[in-house]
Amino acid sequence: MQRLVHSVFLLTLFLVAGIATVASAQEGGALAGVAAGSSADYFHNLIGVVTGNWQEYGQLFTFLQGEWFWKIFLAIITVVPTVFFLHYMIIGAKHFDHDGPQIYFFSLYARIVHFVAAISFSLLVVTGLMIIFGSFLGGGSLIRLARYTHLVSAIVFALPCVMMFMMWLKDMLPQLHDIKWMFILGGYLSKKKVPVPAAKFNAGQKMYFWFAIFGGGVMAFTGYIIWGMGADIETVRLLTIIHNVLGMGIVAFYLTHVYMSVFAIAGSLESIKTGYKPKEEVDILHSLHKYE
């Protein structure tokens, strides 16, 4: 599953980079507005003034938004849960001994921060998806409310985001053993409880963390610009494309995180509430965790 997520992420990066290159190459020229010789030149200049380089970004945006975005999102929100469902069926959840020794894993502060982040982030994802699938829901005031909620959640989410960054930065720094973790995909593909190489956070969590921090930053910035149309139309188009594509990755990660916490590791929801994790779980999934 993570591989799929990876590939989507890479694809996204590739796409974004590609568009950005084209964008910089095309800059200028469009608005030149010099004395137009032929009517074709004139029309070209005119449309440049009216809507920027529509042929380049407008058409691309129309194509992606009209044909692809909703389909990809649909695929993500159906395929990812299906895969997890199969995983759950075949491999099943990891059960750890909750009656055994407990380790105080998350401080109260961390839990509150995470809780606020979780709520607002969930809202962001849900309302974002509501907007994407607005026509199924009939549009109108419901989706308008979703839009407003999207904005409010985004603002709310920004704060815990920063706090989490400062709180967990040290633990989230990539380490060599993360590669090993990746190779065995965190051991989720087997039912055996073999200790996997991970400290406080495993490589998957780290990816999610960084994705949330950087992706979240990009989402916040692009979202802010799109909300207020605070740039020229070509930039707005580009940012909207980025916002959507990045959104796909985030939705996928979000679903993964939800699956992990709610289903894949029985009781992990409890841990983030109470702050305690079973020692067994820590020893297996976070084998390198250093006890204080």
């Binding site: 009209g66 649909l74 699938f133 026509s135 199924f136």
Partner: protein, 197 residues
């Protein structure tokens, strides 16, 4: 997510209902010719197919019983025609005077907003004078009496030439004529208007 490119609104049927003619081809052709000729002048080429003036039975109007008043734009000297639609004594909208022989319905931005001359909230609403630097409302009688008394006193003291009368190129011929006649009856040639400049 069915993205139907063509969706018919609930009422599109009534506004674009089909016309029944015995020989639709002929009817369309002749009508086309006619409307093409007018379109060249008026810039609008709406065939009945589109604008279907719905048959008398289901004919609806936004302002039932309104009247159309033909009048003339008050901005420049081209003298464009205006068709004003008046409903219950209120000028509700400006229609296109498509067959005015000079303007053919055309207006610049000023004339297109002619209705604003009547509806503008910036209009003066009452006779006024300044009292200690503050504008104060007057009744018409008060205003005319005060002005008249001052003018008569001035005429008595300084003679009729102490008045300058600036008339207007924005009033009717009748009023313009009265401006000049007023000056003559007042007894002064100190009368002029914008045509001077």
């Amino acid at each position: 997510m069915a993205r139907s490119k063509m969706k018919t609104s609930s009422h599109a049927g009534t506004t674009s209902g089909s016309r029944v003619t015995l020989n639709p081809k002929v009817a369309r052709r002749s009508f086309l010719k006619l409307s093409a000729a007018t379109a060249a002048l008026t810039g609008v080429a709406m065939t009945a197919k589109m604008t279907t003036k719905a048959q008398a039975a289901d004919k609806k109007e936004p302002y039932p019983g309104s009247q159309t008043v033909r009048t003339i734009c008050t901005y420049c000297a081209v003298g464009c025609g205006i068709e004003a639609e008046v409903h219950n004594g209120v000028w509700v909208r400006q229609e296109i005077a498509a067959d005015h022989p000079v303007s053919y319905g055309g207006h610049c931005c000023k004339g297109a907003g002619a209705i604003d001359m009547v509806t503008s909230p910036k209009r003066l609403k009452n006779p006024m004078k300044k009292v200690n630097g503050k504008w104060t409302n007057l009744t018409w009688d008060q205003a005319i009496n005060e002005i008249g008394d001052k003018m008569l006193a001035m005429r008595e003291k300084d003679g009729p030439d102490s008045l300058m009368f600036l008339g207007s190129a924005k009033v009717s011929n009748e009023m313009a004529y009265q401006h000049r006649k007023f000056a003559a009856f007042w007894g002064s040639n100190n009368v002029d208007h914008q045509a001077r400049i």
